[in-house]
Each structure stands twice: as structure tokens, then as C-alpha cells.
């Protein structure tokens, strides 16, 4: 699961990382946005159902939908 800040929402961490990269001499960095990445192991074997379950988890807990978006990839 990727949880990222909605476009337009201030990302203080990304801003600070960008500054730090510049201080380290990395040039050409035009923007940094920081998000969360979660790996969830599920008992569920049906990918469809697993995805639906995780989407529900995102809405209820994993993402703060006021300011964040989420995207789900189902692996194996």
C-alpha cells in the first residue's frame, strides 16, 4: 500500500529532504514528496477480495483521507 499526501497539501518532510539533498551537492532535484509504504500480509488468497479488504483498511486506518491518498498493489 502506498499512502501519499494529496497534491497541494504541504509536505514539510519532502521539503526538508529536498533541502538536504541540495546541501549534499545533488543538483537538479526539482521536488521530493514523502509518503508511507506498507506491506500487509493477508491470509486471504483471492486477490480481488484481498484488495477490497485492504481498501477498507486504508479508509478506516492506514490513510488519513483528509489529506492523504492511497494506492493498493496486490502481490502474491
Amino acid at each position: 500500500v502506498h499512502v501519499t499526501l494529496k497534491p497541494g497539501v504541504l509536505d514539510p518532510q519532502g521539503k526538508a529532504v529536498q533541502g538536504a539533498l541540495a546541501r549534499l551537492g545533488f543538483t537538479g532535484v526539482d521536488g521530493v514528496r514523502q509518503g508511507k509504504y506498507l506491506e500487509i500480509e493477508l491470509g486471504e488468497s483471492d486477490p480481488q477480495k484481498a484488495k477490497a479488504q485492504v481498501a477498507e483498511m486504508c479508509r478506516q486506518l492506514l490513510a488519513n483521507t483528509v489529506i492523504e491518498d492511497y494506492a493498493i498493489d496486490v502481490g502474491d
Binding site: 514539510p12 518532510q13 526538508a16 538536504a20 546541501r23 549534499l24
Partner: protein
Amino acid sequence: MKAAVIVFPGSNCDRDVAVALERVTGFPAKMVWHAETDLAGFDLIVVPGGFAYGDYLRCGAMAAHSPVMREVVSRAQAGAMVLGICNGFQVLTEAGLLPGALMRNAELRFVCRDVTLRVETSDSPFTRRYGQGEVIRIPIAHNEGNYFADEDTLDRLFAEDRVAFRYCSPAGEADGAANPNGSQRNIAGILNERRNVLGLMPHPERMAEPALGGTDGRGLFESLVAALP
């Protein structure tokens, strides 16, 4: 004793530690801005607590790459004392001066309160004024104080007597109930191999005068006066 306190953008215990240093040792400390690159002549370098660079990305990560930190590393290699408190401890691990890493507290909450610590070794320039095994009360205030290192590293730290402080009960038991943040083996502070670098999560500078609730933190600064010219 010539002491420097490094100031990063976001440091916030820089003044506190300078005040405690002067109060206990009588020596004023010099505040050094992170952009400076010359620390020659200082025999004690303090990396203070706070939120350097907001603790964004990882605590201490961005500060560890400040110009001044290269100089801190080289002064440490030259034998100067380096003390990292709280955020300073995180910076020292990120800079590779101390092993391991400080992760999010097990309870995932910031915790600010007095804890009791056991002095695991009085054989260091930072702890010689404490008794071996003495139990002292010092405040902590952090969100990422959960000390992690792999088992080999932990074994080595103990084998080499490099664990300076462990969280313990008032009776001196370093058990799970006395562990405020999930640190492996209740570790609160560690030394480098040469014993001239100490990193610890608790704030001795906040317990250096009776009005603040106690004086158990003074021993650390008194030890340094005794150890330094």
C-alpha cells in the same frame, strides 16, 4: 575544559545543556552553528537534544550530514570527548560514531518523564563520578529512543563494557517494565570503542539543579571536568 555545543537548525536543548555545563563545571560553553567547520581546540563537543531539521526523514539523518559533523568525527578520532544527548545520540548513530540506530518508541508515543537508570560502567570519562551500578533519576523526552542493534553488536557492547546506562526500576532491575521505549536490552546510553564518545537518550542537563527536581544529572558533567584538563 573547552566545550562546544553544536547548534543545528531545529536543535532546542542547546541552551539547556550550555546552562547546565556552566552551572556544574563553571566553564562556559561556546555555541557553534552547524555551518562552521573548525572545532580545533575544543576538548568537549556536545551534540544537543531537539529536532535537528525537524527530525524529518529520520531523526538525526540530515544533521549527520552537516559540514560540522565531518569535523566532529575527525575531532572524535583525535580523542576529543563527544557527548550526544537525545537527538544528539541519534545524530551520532547516523553519523556512524556510535553503532546501532534509534527507532520509534515501541508505544509509538512521545514520552516525557523521569526514568531511573543504572550506571552500567563508571569506567569512562563521562561516568566516573557515578558509582558502578548506581541508580539515578533523569528525565527522558523523545519519540525515537528505541535502541536497536543486531545481536552481535549488542553482545559486543556488553562484552566491551560499552553500555553506559540502562533503564531500570527504582530498585535497579533492568526489566521489561522499566523499559520506556522498547530499547533492546534496556539500553539508554552507549560508548564508542575508545570510550570518548557517549550517546544517551536521557537528558542529564534537565536534572542538574534542585529546583528542576533533582541533581542526578550533575555526575555526568562533573565526570567530564575531572577527565578534562
